[in-house]
C-alpha cells in the first residue's frame, strides 16, 4: 500500500478552502473591520477556542514530551495556573471598558479594534502590538517546523517535495483566510475540530479492541532528575504557562470578549478553559506512562512524541492512518489560520493607532495601508516565516515554540493594570489607594515595564542556559524566567514615583 498522507492532507485543504469560500458569501459588507472581526457566534467561538487548544501541535507534542521528561506532577500546577487565569479573566468582565466594548459588539462597530490592547490601551501600549506580532510570527514558524516534521515522518517525502507541500498548505491556508476573513477562520475551525473528533473516535474504537496495559508511575517520577530548586522552577513555569495562556491569550480574546456579548464570552471562556485542563492532562499522562519502558532508548528526550505517534500508527489500519493524517492537517490548519488572522487583526489595530510622524512608520505602516494591504503585509510576514522555518533546526523547535508561547507571560502586567483598575473601586480605603496607585503607575509606564521584562527575560534565559544546561531539556525554565522577569519589571515600575494624576485611568475609545 502506498502512502495515503498526501490524499488526506489535500482533502482537508481543499475542503477548508471550499468551506471558507462558501462562508464568505454571508459576510455583511467588505469593510475591513467587518472582514477582521465580524461573524462570531458562541458555537463557533467554543469550537475555535477548543480547536486551537487541543490542536496546537507545539502544545500537544510538547506536552507528550513534558509528561515523559518531567512526570505528570506538572498537571497540578498547569491546571492550577489555568483555573487562576480563568478566574482572573472572568473577573475582568466587570470592567467598564469591556461593557463599553460589548455595546460596540451589539452595534457591530469594530472600527477601533477589539483586542485587549485596543480596549484597555493607550499610545503607551503601542510596543505591545509589535511584541505580540513578533510572538505570533514566532508561533507561526514553530507550527510550520512541527508540521514539516510530522508530515516528513508520515509521508517520507524528499526534502524539496516536503517543503513544497508545507508551502502549499500555508499558501492555501492564507488563501482561505484571505477569502473568508474572521468568519471563514471560525467556520473552518468548526469543521476541522469535527475531523479531529472523528479521529479520536476511531482511535478509541481501535484501542478498545486490543488489550492495552498502561502503567502510570507516581506523579513525581520523571525521566530527568529534579532538585528541590529545579522542582520549584518546574512548577512555577507550568503555573505561569497555564495562567498566561488562559488570561492573556490574544486570539482567544478576539473570539470571546472581543466579538461576543459578555455573558456569552464568559461561558465560552469557562468551557474552553475546562477543556484545556482536560485535554492537557491526556498527552501528559500518555508521556508519563512510557517512563522506564525498556523499548524506549534512554537517549530520547523531546523526540518521544514522534516515537509515541510511531507506536500509535505502527499496527494501525489504513483507515486510521488516513484519518490521523487528516486530523493532523486539521490541527495544523486550525492553528495556522488562527495565527494568520490574529496577525491581521493586530496589524489593523496597530496601524490605526500608530503615530505617523516618523518616516519609518510612514514607510512600513502607513504606506502599505495606503494601498489598503493589511492582508498584503501579513502575506509578507507569512513568506518570511516560511523561509525561516525552512532553515530552522529541528532540535530547537520546542525551545523556540515554548519561548513564543511564554511571551503571553510578559503581557500579564498589561492586563494586570485592568485588574487593578477594577480593584480600585474597592470599599476598603487602603486597598483602593494601593490599587489606584498601581493602576496609574502600570498604565503610565507600560513601555518601561515591557522593556524591563524583555531584557530581564533574555538575561535570565542566558543565566539558566549557563547554570542548568540545554534549554531543550529544561523547557520549564522559559516560562519560569519570563514570570520572574515580568514580576521584577512590575515591581520596578511600582517602586517608581507616581506620575501626575491624569484625572482618568483610561481614555475612552469611541473613535480612533
Amino acid at each position: 500500500m502506498g502512502n495515503v498522507t498526501i490524499f488526506a492532507v489535500f482533502m482537508v485543504l481543499i475542503a477548508s478552502l471550499a468551506i471558507s469560500a462558501w462562508s464568505s458569501r454571508s459576510r455583511r459588507s467588505n469593510l475591513i473591520q467587518n472582514f477582521l472581526f465580524e461573524g462570531n457566534t458562541p458555537l463557533l467561538a467554543i469550537s475555535s477556542c477548543i480547536g486551537s487548544i487541543i490542536s496546537m501541535a507545539v502544545s500537544f507534542t510538547a506536552l507528550l514530551s513534558a509528561g515523559y521528561l518531567w512526570g505528570w506532577q506538572i498537571t497540578f500546577s498547569m491546571i492550577a495556573g489555568g483555573l487562576a487565569g480563568l478566574a482572573a479573566i472572568l473577573t475582568l468582565s466587570a470592567h467598564p471598558a469591556i461593557t463599553q466594548n460589548a455595546e460596540r459588539v451589539e452595534q457591530r462597530s469594530f472600527i477601533s479594534g477589539v483586542s485587549y490592547l485596543a480596549i484597555f490601551g493607550s499610545l503607551e501600549s503601542m510596543p505591545y502590538y509589535g511584541f505580540l506580532m513578533a510572538a505570533y510570527t514566532a508561533m507561526l514558524i514553530t507550527e510550520m517546523v512541527v508540521l514539516r516534521t510530522f508530515i516528513s515522518f508520515l509521508s517520507e517525502l524528499p526534502r524539496f517535495e516536503l517543503l513544497l507541500l508545507v508551502g502549499t498548505v500555508l499558501l492555501v491556508c492564507y488563501a482561505y483566510v484571505y477569502i473568508g476573513g474572521f468568519r471563514g477562520v471560525l467556520v473552518t475551525d468548526y469543521f476541522q475540530l469535527l475531523v479531529v473528533f472523528v479521529f479520536i473516535g476511531l482511535w478509541i474504537a481501535s484501542i478498545s479492541q486490543q488489550p492495552v496495559a498502561v502503567h502510570l508511575p507516581s506523579p513525581s517520577e520523571s525521566r530527568i532528575v529534579f532538585t528541590a530548586w529545579t522542582r520549584v522552577l518546574l512548577h512555577a513555569g507550568c503555573f505561569a504557562g497555564g495562567f498566561a495562556w488562559t488570561f492573556a491569550n490574544t486570539d482567544q480574546w478576539f473570539r470571546t470578549y472581543g466579538t461576543l456579548k459578555v455573558t456569552q464570552a464568559r461561558r465560552v471562556l469557562i468551557t474552553s478553559a475546562l477543556t484545556m485542563c482536560a485535554f492537557s492532562v491526556v498527552p501528559v499522562l500518555a508521556g508519563a506512562a512510557v517512563i522506564g519502558r525498556p523499548t524506549i532508548s534512554p537517549a530520547i528526550t523531546n523526540g518521544i512524541s514522534l516515537v509515541l505517534v510511531g507506536n500509535l500508527l505502527i499496527h494501525a489500519s489504513v483507515t486510521l492512518r488516513f484519518v490521523f493524517a487528516m486530523a493532523l492537517t486539521c490541527a495544523a490548519l486550525t492553528t495556522l489560520n488562527t495565527y494568520l488572522m490574529t496577525l491581521q487583526q493586530l496589524y489593523y489595530e496597530a496601524s490605526t493607532r500608530i503615530d505617523s510622524k516618523h518616516y519609518l512608520h510612514y514607510l512600513l505602516i502607513n504606506y502599505p495601508l495606503k494601498w489598503k494591504a493589511v492582508r498584503g503585509v501579513v502575506f509578507l510576514i507569512t513568506v518570511v516565516a516560511f523561509v525561516a522555518s525552512c532553515f530552522f533546526p529541528d532540535r530547537y523547535v520546542y525551545t523556540f515554540g515554548v519561548a513564543s508561547l511564554s511571551m503571553f507571560v510578559v503581557i500579564l502586567p498589561f492586563l494586570g493594570t485592568a485588574l487593578a483598575e477594577l480593584i480600585a473601586v474597592s470599599p476598603r480605603r487602603w486597598v483602593r489607594a494601593a490599587a489606584t496607585s498601581a493602576a496609574i503607575k502600570l498604565a503610565e509606564r507600560r513601555r518601561l515595564t515591557l522593556y524591563i521584562s524583555v531584557v530581564g527575560w533574555l538575561l535570565l534565559l542566558a543565566a539558566g542556559r549557563v547554570l542548568m544546561g540545554a534549554l531543550t531539556l529544561h523547557l520549564y525554565i522559559i516560562p519560569a524566567t519570563a514570570l520572574a522577569a515580568t514580576a521584577t519589571a512590575t515591581l520596578v515600575t511600582l517602586s517608581l514615583r507616581t506620575p501626575a494624576w491624569q484625572g482618568v485611568l483610561r481614555e475612552p475609545k469611541d473613535s480612533i
Binding site: L31, L43, A175, Y178, V318, F322, K372
Partner: protein, 213 residues
C-alpha cells in the same frame, strides 16, 4: 449563550465522536479505506526491483572471496559509454560482471588501465536504465571500494550512498499525486482569491471615522 446552543454544539461533537467509535467497533478489523487506496496503490507496486542479468567477463581464476556491485543510471544522452574506475589497488580482481536493467548485458568492454586508479570496464548505458557491474576479488584483503565513473568529460565519484535513488512505482505515483494536488489546490486558491471582492477601508466609507492615509 442559551442552553439550546450548548446542547446543539455538544450534540454535533458527540455525533462526530460517537459515530466513529460505533462504526469502528462494528467494522472491527475491516479496513474500509484500504479498498479504494489499494486500487490506486497496488500492494505489489510498493516493492521495487529489477532483474539484473550480469554476464561474466572471463579474467584470471575463479576464486570468489569478495564481490562488489556498482550501479549507475545516466540522463546525459539516449546512450552513452560509461567508464568504471576503481581507486586504489586492484590486486586480486578476478572476475567482472556487467549488465543493464533492460534484460540484456549491454555492450561491455573490459579494460586494463586508467590515469586515476584502475579503469576496468566500459559499458554502453541507455538513458533511464540502470547499468552496473560486479567485481569479484580473489581475496577480501583489498582496499575499501572507491569507484569513479566517467562519461566523456563528465566524472562522478560514487562516494555518496544516497546518490542514486530508486523509487518503487507507488512512490512515483505518490509524487504524481503530490504535484497534481499542489497544482489543483493552487489553481482553486488562485481562482477563489481573484474572484473575492477587495476590502473597503473606513476611509472609503466615511472620512470622519478614518485615520487612514
Amino acid at each position: 449563550m442559551s442552553l439550546k446552543t450548548v446542547y446543539d454544539s455538544c450534540k454535533t461533537w458527540l455525533k462526530s465522536l460517537v459515530i466513529p467509535i460505533v462504526v469502528g467497533i462494528i467494522l472491527h478489523n475491516t479496513d474500509i479505506a484500504k479498498i479504494p487506496f489499494s486500487k490506486f496503490y497496488p500492494d505489489e507496486d510498493s516493492i521495487g526491483g529489477v532483474a539484473f542479468p550480469l554476464a561474466q567477463i572471463p579474467r584470471g581464476d575463479a576464486q570468489r572471496s569478495r564481490l562488489e556491485v556498482v550501479i549507475v543510471r545516466q540522463s546525459i544522452k539516449p546512450l552513452t559509454k560509461i567508464n568504471f574506475f576503481r581507486r586504489g589497488t586492484s590486486d586480486g580482481m578476478s572476475t567482472i560482471f556487467a549488465g543493464l536493467a533492460a534484460n540484456s548485458p549491454g555492450r561491455a568492454t573490459p579494460l586494463t588501465g586508467g590515469l586515476n586508479g584502475m579503469s576496468f570496464l566500459e559499458l554502453d548505458v541507455p538513458a533511464r536504465t540502470l547499468g552496473g557491474t560486479t567485481v569479484i576479488f580473489r581475496s577480501d584483503q583489498v582496499a575499501p571500494a572507491r569507484y569513479v565513473v566517467t562519461s566523456g568529460d563528465v566524472s562522478k565519484d560514487l562516494a555518496d550512498p544516497e546518490d542514486l535513488v530508486v523509487q518503487t512505482k507507488n512512490e512515483v505515483r505518490q509524487m504524481h499525486v503530490l504535484y497534481g494536488f499542489i497544482l489543483l489546490s493552487l489553481i482553486a486558491a488562485t481562482f477563489l482569491v481573484t474572484r473575492s471582492q477587495p476590502l473597503r477601508h473606513p476611509s472609503d466609507e466615511n472620512t470622519d471615522e478614518s485615520q487612514w492615509v
